[in-house]
């Protein structure tokens, strides 16, 4: 049996006759962490439609824990979404709920835990993320880093096997999210938990990523482990690393 938690096989995705993903294949082994990067319009954001929203019409297939998500019915899709933790760049915290209520929302909705168990569990997450001082505050009263930490807390509340983070760290001061990075680093070392990080700044995730994939024009143009990412002479990667407009990628 394959130990892949997530696998994309020959995925081609078109919208309005524009090819957003072109024959993309990669897999993520259980316990591994992957960083996917590329310039704007490279297709890294289109992966969301395929992997997370799972409602797009595309060629090829996506497997989660060996099961095709393309064939999932209404309720199975709900269960799949419940199993994957997701954070996006807008964070999407419920503005009428406090930090504590936001983090406990998926548990209140799905979990069979009792109210007191949820409270204790959420309390631990709040403590780990250093959010104790804003437990009763609503998103409106929070700083950017606190919003990210609350969204992160909500995404990991039900301890998902796969966490998908999309451009969530792009506009953050790393000093303020130290507690979050510590939790994320701890999580990345667990053999049963995997992470997909979608970002424009892959170098920020060298310490937690096992593999790096670069996209350009909807295609995978580089795949490699941490050492390859740092040392490879792949012209696409070199151009991206050096922030140069000279190279195989024509940047508009």
């Amino acid at each position: 049996m394959s130990d892949a938690i997530l696998e994309l096989k020959n995925v081609t995705y078109r919208r309005d006759s524009i090819t957003l993903l072109d024959n993309v294949s990669f897999s993520l082994t259980r316990g591994d962490n992957i960083t996917i990067f590329g310039p704007e319009g490279s297709g890294i954001s289109s992966l969301f439609d395929i992997i997370i929203r799972a409602n797009a019409d595309f060629e090829g297939d996506v497997f989660y824990k060996g099961e095709s998500i393309k064939s999932l019915g209404y309720f199975e899709l709900m269960n799949y979404k419940k199993e994957v933790g997701y954070i996006h760049g807008d964070y999407g915290l419920m503005s009428n709920l406090t930090v504590e209520q936001n983090i406990s929302l998926p548990l209140d909705y799905h979990s069979s835990m009792s109210a007191s168990e949820i409270k204790a569990h959420v309390g631990r997450i709040i403590y780990d993320l250093n959010l104790d001082h804003c437990r009763k505050l609503r998103p409106f009263d929070l700083t950017r880093s606190e919003i990210l930490k609350a969204a992160f807390g909500r995404a990991i509340a039900h301890d998902p096997d796969l966490l998908y983070i999309e451009h969530a760290f792009e506009d953050q001061c790393y000093l303020n999210i130290k507690s979050l990075i510590d939790v994320l680093t701890g999580r990345s070392m667990r053999p049963d938990k995997s992470l997909v990080m979608i970002t424009y700044y892959p170098q920020n995730f060298i310490d937690i990523s096992d593999e790096f994939i670069m996209f350009f024009n909807g295609r995978v143009v580089f795949t490699g482990r941490k050492e390859d990412f740092m040392n490879s002479g792949n012209p696409y990667l070199v151009q991206y690393r050096t922030n140069s407009i000279e190279g195989p990628m024509i940047i508009l």
Binding site: R53, M78, D90, G92, M94, N96, L105, P106, Y109
Partner: protein, 263 residues
């Protein structure tokens, strides 16, 4: 000119038809969502039901009572001063029940709820959609139709039922007190004429109206709240939500009255 009018009418008609099909699909999707009720833990929507009931019902009490008092007073003054001219003062109770309990109470309450809560529901949902809160819920595996629409239907139905009862009581009692300053009528006579005029049918009709309003108001407002795709469209759809809910409420009121009292 004629061709242009025909084209415009046709286009408008087609637009209305498409809108109705879209709304039907929305209602169907809610029915599909109801299937996942068994997965829903009540505690997750309990707070929403309480908050919505408080906003739609409790917070609207003051304005509902003031309007009931004024409308009730006006109707009672008109009835007490006009009925004797036609020699039908014996039908005072019937006239009051017909105007206030059967028609004015449910409709005025629905209009107040639409103006206060309908607009608030549409705006809240539109803003939640724009700030990607609804997307976040979807991606947590939360059935948004169930989580957003269902508690609002429950809260609106409870609130409207309560408000209609309060409206009628205040309109009768308060109206009587106001009317007493103009015309004398003994309290016991007034009360007895009302009791005699009330039928079981009136209670059932009011109940059905409150349930119908409780379902249609949040349903239409949620539908329009989920429509905007940009900030710019939010006020457009909120305005549509209020106007169309008002229109539907008047149709529902008329339809229930026709079924109960005409057919």
């Amino acid at each position: 000119m004629f061709e242009k009018t025909i084209t415009l009418t046709g286009r408008k008609g087609l637009g209305i038809y498409k809108g109705m099909i879209d709304f039907r699909d929305f209602v169907k999707s809610i029915f599909t969502s109801f299937k996942s009720l068994r997965y829903l833990r009540f505690r997750s929507i309990y707070t929403i039901i309480i908050n919505q009931t408080r906003f739609t019902g409790v917070d609207a009490l003051a304005i509902v009572m003031i309007i009931a008092l004024l409308l009730g007073g006006t109707v009672i003054i008109q009835a007490l001063t006009s009925l004797p001219k036609f020699g039908v003062e014996g039908f005072l109770g019937n006239i009051l029940v017909i105007i206030i309990a059967r028609e004015l109470g449910p409709l005025a309450t629905a209009l107040i709820v639409i103006a206060r809560s309908g607009s608030a529901i549409a705006t809240e949902i539109a803003v939640q959609k724009w700030s990607r809160e609804i997307l976040s819920m979807e991606l947590m595996g939360i059935d948004t139709k169930l989580y957003i629409v269902f508690p609002r239907i429950v809260a609106s139905t409870l609130s409207i039922l309560g408000l209609i009862i309060i409206f009628d009581v205040v309109a009768f009692i308060g109206g009587y007190i106001i009317a007493r300053t103009v015309v004398y009528i003994p309290m016991d006579v007034f009360g007895q004429t009302l009791i005699d005029a009330f039928t079981f049918k009136d209670i059932i009709a009011a109940l059905i109206k409150s349930v119908m309003f409780g379902i249609t108001i949040p349903l239409i407002c949620c539908y329009y709240g989920l429509k905007p795709n940009s900030k710019f469209e939010i006020p457009i759809y909120v305005s549509k939500a209020v106007i169309r809910t008002l229109f539907i409420a008047i149709i529902v009121n008329g339809a229930v009255s026709t079924i109960f009292y005409l057919v």
